[in-house]
């Protein structure tokens, strides 16, 4: 089961499975020696003025509970969403941002050349799902502006990923979707007035630890994108 809270995708396992997985992971992470060493470390921090008495006691209590095996971690995750894209629906916006950079949480942005403006789109006819899509509008000479992912870890056994995003456009637009910085695979096209799914298969270069995916606008006109996903492809 999955739920979204504060823009975070929460993965919820069945209660029994989750508890067992957490117990096993905790055992892997917390040897008795590590707990003892942590107790010594916090005592040193307190002596050096890096921990108040109250903060020291909280840490100490927690570590003693770990020694006794009675501590229940509240934050330790035991699973990960299969989709490597976060905020794929561009629903979590950050209004404290510049128009020529990413306006969305998790996504990054940059304008290389030309004049463009990025904005969250809330007009229903330009939103494929949820409240928002991402709108990139040319406001002058064409060049290149991008919304792109942070560095994504190359964890797929096959080294291959499938990226898909829904897009529509107006004017003399050009959407260039590409794997980069450690991977290759791209699509460049003009998108029409109706939503269409753009699929790109990307391959991670040998030895690369990570890669990025860029959504570039290189034409004029406007492009809307929504509902992006990235999943490892088991086929080499």
């Amino acid at each position: 089961m999955r739920a979204v809270l504060c823009g975070l995708t929460i993965v919820v396992l069945a209660p029994g499975l989750s508890a067992q997985a957490r117990t096993e992971l905790t055992a892997d992470l917390w040897s008795r020696e590590r707990v003892q060493s942590a107790l010594e470390a916090i005592a040193e921090h307190k002596a050096a003025g890096l921990l108040s008495e109250a903060a020291y006691q909280r840490r100490r209590d927690m570590l003693l509970q770990r020694l006794e095996g009675t501590f229940s971690p509240t934050m330790l995750a035991v699973d990960s969403p299969p989709d490597l894209i976060q905020n794929g629906g561009f629903e979590a916006v950050n209004r404290n941002t510049r128009a020529d950079g990413s306006r969305w949480r998790w996504w990054q942005g940059w304008r290389w050349e030309g004049e463009y403006e990025m904005h969250w789109e809330d007009r229903g006819r330009h939103v494929r799902s949820g409240r928002y899509s991402a709108r990139i509008t040319s406001t002058g000479p064409p060049g290149r502006v991008s919304v792109f992912t942070p560095i994504l870890p190359a964890t797929s056994d096959s080294g291959v990923y499938r990226f898909s995003v829904w897009a529509k456009g107006s004017g003399e637009n050009e959407l260039f979707v590409g794997f980069d910085a450690g991977a290759s695979g791209s699509v460049r096209k003009r998108v029409g007035r109706e939503w269409e799914r753009i699929d790109v298969r990307g391959r991670v270069r040998s030895g690369a630890a990570g890669f990025r995916i860029y959504l570039n606008s290189t034409g004029t006109g406007t492009i809307w994108v929504d509902d992006a996903t990235l999943i490892p492809d088991p086929r080499p």
Binding site: C6, G7, L8, T9, I10, V11, L25, L29, R34, S37, A38, A41, I42, E44, H45, A48, G49, L50, L51, S52, E53, A54, A55, R58, R59, M62, L63, P73, T74, M75, L76, A77, V78, D79, S80, P81, L84, Q86, A92, N94, R95, N96, R105, W106, T149, P150, I151, L152, P153, T155, A209, G210, R212
Partner: protein
């Protein structure tokens, strides 16, 4: 006509009319922009300084040229007194320059010749480095201005070396720092920071994070250089903050196993390097979640709780800039590093500011985190009297933006030209602020010692009264100085001796008064320790 006479006439013709050079002492605390004014209002060619052994002490002067353009040489002499000599190499003259695009005034070595255009006035600083083994007493010397061997003007320097040994403050004071790329530059920078009174360094940009490998050797080399430079405070390691918002978000949300396990792995690699080298380190885990609105703030709170539970052996902090962010994260942090805060784009903080007595009391009471300042201003007052005032409320550190941001980018406290370090005036004044702090702490220690030994009651009472007045003269609220035009001290220095303020400058007049109380108490304390002493007051 003899060739010699012809040469002299030619030289006279080239150089034009005799020059009139106006030299006068100025206030090195004067703000930028205005024509330099004489210190105390009356032009003087005599600069009066006082300092302790090991201290750096500046004085500023202006050179005005009202006639034709001229090139001058500026040289400093040794400072000589009955108790010894301070060599001329310890008396450094530098010109004040504004570098376009850098945005701050810097000090540069004037070189063999300084051009003075007609009608121009240029500013200079003289910084005297008092060798640590200098004997107390008066020392005198000069800064000479000559042209083609002709003496045009002279600044007389009168330095009193005080019989006081200042100590490092027991606080973490320093700047964010970028990896310079080579060990020699690193050693130079760290030595420069120590010479400016800094007690901590906060590495941030261009330091390697072991995400794709397990290489922590760069951190190890930094620790080695940090310790060799004489730093004793824990390192404020800011670079790991990049993990949470730049380097690892691609691994997954903070509540995913993929992100969390990678984060734990990287942080434990860094921690191992610091602990194996016996270097206490404060790890910064986040940066200004307030800028992401209330949702971002909630994420920061969850993240801090995760680090608290799964990496409790790390001393942690986060650079925070909003009330809600601090209150959500600080319960899980060792140190709460705060600036004055802002509302957030969604106004979720409703006008609450952070660098003030009310909030710091709330922070300590409600979260248990130790308050440090991060980015509450560089310069003399922020590092000096204001920090001293706020340290009484429990603030234990201050890290500012930024020693060497990019290649001479705006915001840097140092301009680097061909490897040469050209300090900004703000950087030099920050050292003066830390020196103010040292004097104040020295006086507090003497009062405590006298009280404990039950001697020197009169001197201790007088010193305590001064400290109390100074405490009251600082408003414990940074907004008072940045948003409400409050001056320091609020009485506009009316209580100071005007003649002393005119010759030393206002801040130094206060410092001098503090120093006199230190010396008065030292006389009592030394007297009490001597075989004939009897604890007289």
């Amino acid at each position: 006509m003899s060739p010699l006479l012809l040469g002299v006439l030619l030289l006279w013709a080239i150089q034009g009319q005799p020059h009139e050079i106006d030299l006068y002492v100025t206030d090195y605390m004067a703000p930028a922009g205005a024509e330099p004014e004489p210190l105390g209002g009356e032009p003087s060619r005599r600069a009066t300084l006082f300092a302790t052994p090991g201290e750096y002490e500046p004085v500023a002067f202006a050179l005005g040229n009202s006639l034709s353009p001229i090139g001058v040489e500026i040289t400093s002499s040794a400072l000589i007194g009955p108790m010894g000599t301070i060599p001329s190499a310890a008396v450094r003259v530098r010109a004040v320059e504004q570098v376009p695009r850098f945005g701050r005034r810097i000090l540069v070595d004037p070189g063999p010749r300084v051009d003075l255009p007609a009608g121009a006035t240029r500013s200079f600083w003289v910084t005297v480095r008092v060798p640590v083994d200098t004997q107390p007493g008066l020392y005198a010397g000069t800064v000479g201005v000559t042209s083609a061997g002709e003496a045009l003007a002279r600044l007389d320097l009168i330095l009193e070396v005080l019989p006081i040994q200042l100590e490092d403050p027991p606080f973490a004071l320093g700047f964010n720092y970028s990896q310079p790329g080579d060990r020699e530059a690193l050693a130079d920078h760290l030595a420069d920071m120590r010479a400016h009174g800094m007690t901590v360094v906060a590495p941030l940009y261009d330091f390697h994070l072991p995400v794709d490998d397990d290489d922590t050797s760069e951190l190890g080399a930094f620790i080695e250089a940090y310790q060799a430079a004489g730093f004793r405070e824990p390192i404020y390691f800011a670079t790991p903050m990049l993990l949470s918002f730049d380097r690892l978000p691609g691994y997954g949300p903070i509540d995913s196993k993929r992100f969390q396990q990678k984060y734990i792995e990287v942080m434990r690699r860094l921690y191992r390097e610091t602990s194996e080298r016996g270097q206490l380190t404060l790890f910064s885990i986040g940066d200004e979640y307030t800028n992401k609105g209330l949702e971002g703030v909630h994420e920061g709170g969850l993240f801090a709780r995760f680090v608290f539970e799964e990496l409790p052996e790390l001393a942690t902090t986060s650079d925070m800039n909003g009330y809600r962010e601090v209150m959500e994260m600080a319960p899980y942090l060792s140190v709460a590093a705060i600036n004055n805060g802002w509302d957030g784009i969604d106004n979720h903080n409703r006008g609450r500011r952070l660098a003030n007595e009310t909030f710091i009391s709330e922070l300590r009471r409600e979260t248990g985190a130790i308050p440090w300042f991060v980015n509450t201003g560089s310069g003399r007052f922020p590092f000096g009297f204001f920090f001293w005032r706020m340290s009484k409320l429990g603030v234990r550190g201050k890290v500012e933006w930024y020693y060497n941001f990019g290649p001479n980018r705006r915001g840097s406290l140092i301009h680097i030209e061909d490897g040469s370090l050209q300090p900004t005036l703000d950087y030099e004044r920050s050292r003066e602020g830390i020196d103010d702090l040292k004097y104040l702490l020295a006086l507090e220690r003497r009062v405590e010692a006298a009280r404990a030994a039950r001697i020197g009651t009169r001197q201790a009472d007088a010193a305590a009264t001064l400290l109390e007045r100074l405490t009251e003269s600082v408003v414990p609220d940074w907004s008072a100085y940045t948003e409400r035009d409050t001056s320091f001290p609020e009485d506009g220095f009316e209580s100071l001796d005007p003649a002393r303020a005119a010759s030393l400058g206002s801040f130094n007049a206060i410092r001098r008064t503090v120093a006199e109380h230190i010396m008065a108490l030292d006389r009592v304390l030394v007297d009490a320790e001597s075989p004939q002493g009897g604890g007289r007051s």
